[in-house]
Symmetry: C2
């Protein structure tokens, strides 16, 4: 059965990709008018009038922007850009001392897959995890404030592309590496790829008390590329799965050389066993990290053959099955955890790869699902009725099918080339149904043109009726790779930070604002409030900072306006400095006053009718 | 008449500001449901189904993000973020050699007011100008590519806040400074404010041949804060107007001290006269710039008294009047250019300020317009029927009124505190009517909460009926200060850049890709195409770059995929480097390979089904 899969060649894929643009005219909404839209009821479905709010938050990864885009569903309005891996002058992220240190000197990141924290397999609305393919970082966003609270850099890996995915109670995030490199990014010629290069998976724990991530252990896998992963649920909750490609171990021209074999693998591993082995001292120590090497120890890791170059593996909400697809294939393959556990128990092995047992494909596979002429299955999401929704990259559509029977229920074209899709609470143990968003890679001419660099598109699909229906098409900045959709009422934000009089460096009374000199360090303990700065209560000009050229200036600024939405900015003209303080917040800005002269200080974030007047001066006297 | 204006105190303004939130429940859309929306027809008005496109582009300034936000109208979908004054890893802006040099080392900017190029007073769809309050820059965006083509830094000024505004045929952009500083940002104590500090206005020309801006001349004005400006049209086309505040010349606590006088000024100047004076050699030379000092020469500059602390002055589409408002006042004041010219001719002066004649208020003023209980008029836009639309910051509304009669026609609440508004083609000689967007500073709880830092809001108002109607409310990232709305068909983009075989450093044939070493400089002449990199055609691994630690690496990369929307990225893992090449584009990335080791190279922008496979390696051998 496996061998019957038809793999279109590279040229065929390209032809399919280009041909997909022809579908424009075929789409029911195409060429429609506002009155047709009205008859369809689409406009009403997505319209959220003032006074009402969206039902869901959509957290879309921002790809190589490094940031997270927050949308409302069903309106598909972009509510906010939250900076994660790149600096953001709009919020001062990466400019104030704390966030600058957290970013670790990096000026960009490549945010791939976001994941919500879970409790008993349900999104709990507390945290969002995300990973950086560019510079190997993992970040945690606090959903009370929509700000990043911790960042971890993972050694020994290059590109945690298909993280983060969490276990049922957020015990672990797993970060498989996309690129294989020598451990520690050491220099080694590519001729030594098979011996010196490794594909490393990181297991990260999040400590809710300290609000920090900890790199618990790593697993040294063969030098393959690891991709989309998912954790088990319920009966499979001790396990996780991830896909591989380039098991050919090609070192050049992967377009051709990593597409040679008919099959790659799903990696199936038992994280409880790995945890125990680490506790039992069976890990090596590599660059300060505990590392399990499955070539040396029986690590509870197994390989399941799958059609070549898979991009996706997804665990069904009941935790009974995992679904994967060769990304160049016409089929989705349903695998059974129960069958896999049985194959492990009874050693139904078809061989081994570098010490890791390969399970027999037919012993684990439950069903291959082949919707007619559907091409390029990438990623599967779920609803509340037992249906699966798979994005077809090449035939530019979403296919709805029955997990139990493999029956194709419905198909809907999207514009164009969907990578991932996300359904409401779709990675949880109880998806909501109702909405699916297709994250399309090529929008072509869907929107007003903005030159050569086109927007991607996110299309909202109504799942409530018998037929799926695309009801809204939203352009999006580069570049969402995955998203998560959560019920709005699960997130409880703080709008005004608490007045904490014990907070280091905070000042809450105007008369306590002061400037202290310690050698050539000038500490400013200042206040921002509507509509003035107070840096030095004792000075005749309280909103002026005077320093000498070469001084280190440390400005601690507290926003004492404890009212919702009264953000103050702090910019210094011609000094390339800006930060923001939210209501009740204290932040620190550090710089060397290396340039002598007169530099206006101003509030950069509109705060009141007299915002324009919220200014001061930095005077730097020359040496 | 002037003295009758009532100025609410600071406390009164704050009370009004807070009270404005009460209006939430009063808004007709508030508490509405989808079915009510349907009955209202609002949903259909803003819904643009797939296959249709928006009628207008909206270019909204991104404030301290430094960027420009592009929206479609009426959908209010955000189509694209175009980077202008801050780096943007999503597009590689500020990372490749050319854009990095253009940004001048600055990591942020504060983009205030955008302005389209004009021909005969009409938007011609060719260029967009914008200014940076943070670091005193002016930028030009090419509307063929939606990319910035030139950036100019203006000396002697601090914060070109209320630029750019162009003359009728884009002869000049005027950039008045917001902050007064000593010329050249020199150090001078604030006790010397009246003598050493200056408020400088810059006149910039844009050379369409060279695609460069040129600082033609500056004008040394008193140390006041200059604000929103506008150029004349038709009969007033040789003139321009701008507002001032802090004519008190306060140096601290401007909230109180810059609100002491009952009146500030509109500065009225004849730019043709200024141009002639500069040509006649009457300018000083200050820090390399020609500077006219009106205290020394009769410069064709006049002051018109206006209610204190005005934020806005706007010229009517027919060029006959200019409208300004004290921002704390209850009135809009209509001034007549004809009366002003007459006052100038007949020397109807009420005095002078530092050598600049002050025109008699009553000789220039045509009408004061006082809608009942309207407070905080900031900015006025226009339609095609002779009506003006003024944003009321404190009473949170837009007031429609008749320019000829002063009659109030209609009022509509917005949520909340509108700063600017923009109507379709609203700054041109022939506004379209139909749509107005209110740019509200405080959205409060209009949308799903994203923590302490709230979005601002842009609300779309339908002007087509007898009554104005808010039909859509769109959240927006920090922070639009003004916007421009242009007919979609006026902008003609290039989607694929021309294949220019003579372009320096470009490579169009795979066999010509090469790596050249010159001492410790390694030049890579590479190609990006679906789905591989070719750096060295002669190597066994064509997608690998090998250098020595300490080498300077210069990568010239050409995207030879001449198909729409096939953007390639070029990221180096763990090296903090990324750029993008659009179809047909060549870009250069320069860096020192100071870190030895093995670093994957990958395409960061999704480009094809085999995008994941578009990789290579940078190998840096240790010293």
């Amino acid at each position: 059965m496996y061998k019957k899969m038809i793999m279109p060649g590279v040229m065929g894929i390209m032809a399919g990709l280009l041909a997909s643009t022809v579908m424009f005219a075929d789409f029911p909404g195409g060429g429609g008018t506002a009155s047709i839209a009205s008859a369809n009821g689409d406009a009403e479905k997505v319209y959220v009038p003032f006074g009402k709010k969206d039902d869901y938050y959509l957290f879309a990864s921002g790809g190589h922007s490094g940031q997270m885009f927050i949308y409302g569903v069903p309106s598909m309005r972009r509510i906010r850009t939250v900076p994660v891996f790149s600096p953001d002058p709009a919020t001062g992220y990466g400019f104030d001392k704390e966030s600058k240190a957290m970013l670790g000197g990096y000026s960009w990141g490549d945010l791939h897959h976001p994941a919500f924290s879970e409790t008993k397999g349900e999104y709990d609305g507390k945290y969002l995890f995300a990973t950086d393919v560019a510079n190997n970082r993992a970040a945690v966003m606090d959903l009370k404030t929509f700000t990043v609270m911790d960042m971890l850099q993972t050694p020994n890996t290059s590109g945690p592309h298909c993280a983060a995915f969490v276990t049922e109670n957020t015990e672990y995030l797993f970060l498989p590496t996309r690129f294989s490199v020598p451990l520690g990014n050491e220099y080694a010629p590519l001729d030594e790829f098979k011996t010196k290069y490794k594909g490393v998976m990181s297991a990260v724990k999040f400590n809710e008390q300290s609000k920090k991530q900890e790199l618990a252990y790593q697993v040294a896998l063969p030098p393959w590329s690891f991709d989309l992963s998912d954790a088990g649920k319920k009966g499979s909750s001790d396990w996780a799965v991830m896909t591989t490609y380039n098991t050919e171990e090609a070192t050049t021209n992967l377009e051709i050389n990593a597409s040679q074999k008919d099959r790659d693998y799903i990696v199936l591993f038992n994280w409880k066993e790995l945890e125990k082995m680490v506790a039992d001292g069976k890990a090596d120590h590599v660059n300060g990290v505990k590392m399990i090497d499955p070539a040396k120890v029986n690590a509870g890791i197994y390989l399941v053959p799958v059609a070549k170059s898979p991009h996706g593996v997804d665990v069904t909400p009941d935790g009974k099955r995992f679904i994967a697809s060769g990304k160049l294939a016409p089929a989705m393959t349903v695998f059974s955890f129960e069958k896999a556990f049985d194959a492990v128990k009874n050693k139904k092995f078809a061989g081994q790869e570098q010490g890791i047992p390969v399970l027999d494909y037919n012993a684990v596979m439950e069903r291959e699902v082949n919707p007619e002429n559907a091409l390029g299955p990438l990623h599967t999401q779920f609803d509340d009725k037992g249906f699966a929704y798979t994005t077809m990259f090449i035939s530019s559509e979403v296919v709805k099918w029955n997990i139990e029977t493999g029956e194709t229920i419905d198909r809907v074209p999207v514009q164009y080339s969907p990578g991932h899709s996300v359904s409401a609470e779709g990675d949880s143990a109880s998806p909501d149904g109702q909405w699916l968003v297709a994250l399309n890679k090529l929008a072509k001419d869907s929107y007003l043109s903005v030159g050569p660099s086109h927007p991607e598109s996110m299309q909202l699909i109504d799942l409530s009726g018998d037929k799926m229906k695309v009801v809204q098409s939203a352009p999006v900045d580069p570049e969402p790779h995955y998203a998560q959709m959560i019920k709005a009422d699960k997130i409880q934000t703080i709008n005004v930070l608490p007045k904490d009089e014990k907070r280091p460096n905070s000042v809450w009374k105007q008369e306590e604002a002061r400037i202290e000199r310690h050698g050539n360090v000038v500490d400013v303990y200042g206040i921002a409030m509507r509509s003035k700065f107070t840096f030095d209560a004792k000075a005749s000009r309280k909103d002026v900072i005077e320093v000498k050229q070469g001084d280190k200036v440390v400005i601690h600024l507290t926003n004492i306006d404890l009212d919702e939405d009264i953000t103050h900015g702090f910019g210094i003209n011609n000094y390339n400095l800006n930060m923001e303080v939210q209501p009740g917040e204290t932040k620190t800005l550090e710089f060397i006053a290396d340039k002598a002269g007169t530099f206006p200080i101003y509030c950069t974030n509109f705060c009141s009718a007299l915002h324009q007047e919220m200014t001061g001066y930095l005077l730097v006297s020359p040496n």
